[in-house]
């Protein structure tokens, strides 16, 4: 075997945009193909209203999926995001209806998500219980809390300021889309630019090596689950605003879409691999697919079947691609 002695500066292009396109070529082509098919088969798809509608719908899933990407990168999983979303949503609406001003109510909602995430993180870091089981349990528990707070009924929101968050525009851009744009930047910066981001990849890549390298892996785990909880609560607050109500049943099975988006986007289930940019494309694919199937008047039941098949196919293609590279 010959080893190249000369040090190439880097085998990647120095242009981040080109790298992004190269790394996500498969899913981007998929997304483009899907868009093309839908623009030919339906008249409505390309209408600006519809496109904004898709983006607005994608926002909730994208927000959850970014948190999920973080958790998957450190080799964990969080099944409780849908429940946290519901709990934060109903809490904020109830506080508003009792007369609390918008900003403090939202702050408490986000804090609630942080506390739930912190609890997940503490249990996982200090008890060695598998994250799947821990968050399955908290998923049930937190869902129960939402039912208890609301006695199982949805709570209508009459606060115009709050309702504007999910439905309003800043210029031509829907506010939730703007928020997701900010989250994309923040999350990418955390993952790529900070020490914390590198330590996340290290923890998920090889937890033993991370420990030996002097990384406080427990601290990393606790923070990441807390961040995931915060993102889930933000998703819940925006969703509640968009629906003009806090619903204790909201976000049921949303963890599935969030995991699907992350995995479609190239995040590894074994930890150590994943990007926010990839997850974004994954979330867009799921959003476009949902919207397109609605436009094509496919029944909801068949939509689930088709989504399942698409996810399997996409992940399998990804695995084939990686095999080829080896």
């Amino acid at each position: 075997m010959k080893i190249v002695n000369k040090l190439a500066l880097s085998d990647k292009s120095s242009n981040p945009v080109i790298n992004y396109l190269k790394d996500n070529a498969g899913t981007l082509i998929g997304l483009a193909g899907l868009t093309l098919i839908l623009s030919v088969t339906t008249t409505m798809f390309l209408a600006p209203d519809n496109l904004f509608n898709i983006l607005r719908q994608v926002c909730t899933n994208a927000t959850l999926a970014f948190g999920m990407t973080f958790v998957l990168i450190i080799g964990g999983i969080d099944l409780s995001v849908g429940s946290v979303l519901a709990a934060s949503g109903v809490t904020v609406v109830i506080l508003l209806e009792r007369g609390m001003p918008c900003i403090p109510a939202i702050f408490i909602g986000v804090l609630m998500g942080a506390v739930f995430g912190l609890i997940n993180g503490l249990i996982i870091a200090y008890t060695n219980m598998p994250p799947f089981i821990v968050t399955l349990a908290t998923q049930m528990g937190i869902r129960g809390i939402s039912y208890i707070i609301t006695s199982g009924r949805s709570v209508a929101s009459t606060d115009p300021q709050f309702n504007a968050i999910g439905n309003g525009y800043l210029g031509p851009i829907p506010i939730p889309v703007l928020m997701v744009a900010i989250l994309i930047i923040l999350s990418s910066v955390i993952l790529n630019k900070t020490r914390f981001g590198r330590r996340m990849y290290a923890t998920g890549g090889n937890i033993e090596a991370a420990t030996y390298s002097g990384i406080k892996v427990k601290t990393v785990q606790i923070w990441v689950y807390t961040i995931c909880g915060i993102l889930a609560s933000i998703g819940g607050i925006v969703l509640a605003s968009r629906m003009y109500s806090g619903q204790p049943t909201a976000g049921n099975a949303y963890e599935g879409d969030a995991i699907a988006a992350a995995v479609l986007g190239g995040t590894s289930f074994n930890g150590g691999i994943g990007t926010i940019g990839g997850t974004l494309i994954g979330a867009l694919i799921i959003g476009v697919l949902n919207n397109g199937l609605n436009l094509l008047k496919v029944s909801f039941y068949w939509q689930l079947v088709i989504k399942g098949i698409v996810i399997l196919a996409a992940v399998y293609i990804d695995i084939l691609k990686k095999k080829k590279n080896k």
Binding site: T194, A202, T211, I215
Partner: protein, 505 residues
Amino acid sequence: MMDEYILQMENINKAFPGVRVLHDVSFSVKQGEVHALMGENGAGKSTLMKILGGIYSMDSGKIKVNGEGAAISCVADAQRYGISLIHQEICLANNLSIAENIFMGREITGTVKGFLNFKAMVSEAQKILDSLNMKIDARTRVGKLSIAQQQMVEICRALSTNARIIVMDEPTASLSNKEIENLFLQIQKLKAANVAIIYISHRMDEIFKIADTITVLRDGERVGSMTTQELSPDTLIKMMVGRGLKEVFQKVKLNIGEDLLKVEGFNNQYLKNVHLNLKKGEILGISGLVGAGRTELARAIFGIDPLDSGKIFIDGKEVKIKCPQDAIQHGIALVPESRKEDGLFLNQTVSFNTTISILEKFIRFIHTDHKKENEILDNYINTFSIKMSSRNQLALELSGGNQQKIVISKWLATEPKILILDEPTRGIDVGAKAEIYQMMYQIAQYGVSIILISSELPEIINLSSRVAVMHEGELVKIIDMETEEISQEKIMYYAAGGWNNENSK
């Protein structure tokens, strides 16, 4: 006579995208011989054996078993021709019994197809175990066995397929001396039963003890085949790497200073009242049998395993070390024993791996100083001539020796005063070993004190200025080369607990 060869591999060629791994390699094995396959990592040994075992396909070439052409395209094909591979890593299911492991994939079924005949499997398995003098019940769960016993189960599995050719890839890597003796005994028995054994190992002494014939590969080509009598260790090394034994251990004079680290009365579940001192700039060897507490001592110093009692002094001042972060802050670094499991982030780049412990030096909030990161990295790449295609190459693509250099560099980057190396040359070839030894001298000359834990006595004797010997969690003897003579026998005497008898006299 052609038919005395049980296996002939002729003009085998194999290339992976961009690299030619095997170039016209021919390799023949006689019935009932132990044939050692030698060469540095990357020489093509494993690839050749994987082609034989049906794991890889060859690009061109011919394989003959018993003089007849054999078409091997999958593992089942290889088994049909009586070829069985025992991999370096043990591939057994810990949750199943010995019998179930032996017959995994070839379970014996009863009168009703699809239902297991557990009784028949157990009795068959027991027969094989008995034939190898293994006094274990075939119903024992594999997870309860020692590594050596698990290795034997692998051999039993090979035998149960009626293997006529058994390939053993570094079978002794995780065995103690006694277990190795036992393995060799079994190999003699297999030989007597006319089974051919292809034996891959990096340990010279083993090869000369057990092999009848030695074939050496270098850079994907066959250098030659000779009987063991014709070869001396020195010629063998020259064939493998193109340089002699003297050049492997090039003694360098070290400037040894005052005590830097002092360990007093370390006690925990693995250690019994361990006292140790380490001088500035010295290489202190720690020897002992597997399980004597060497790794555990390192883990205790580094703050991974908690102490029941004990004090640690650095530069004469007592320090508290409760976790690896504390140890790093006090200038201690630990290169763990298994670089793949505890040392490396295999899916990450060389750059990521080298700098993960010193992110503070070049990442401030969200600003990454890539120039500084590259400077740090290039410094180590050049000083230790680490071979890679780019800074962004993944760690898993590097050879074992270069991987180890990366792990050591990662720790040097923290600018430690004390470097603990646990089995730094395990599983790497002679050429890379020599480079790691050079690297250690370079580090020690720079004033860093090194604790070297190693099972290879030549390594301990040739590199260390003092040797500490451990036995069952106790540090029983420190041999100072300045004032005392040292030999492998002397170390083994203390390691095996000989001092106990001395005390009772």
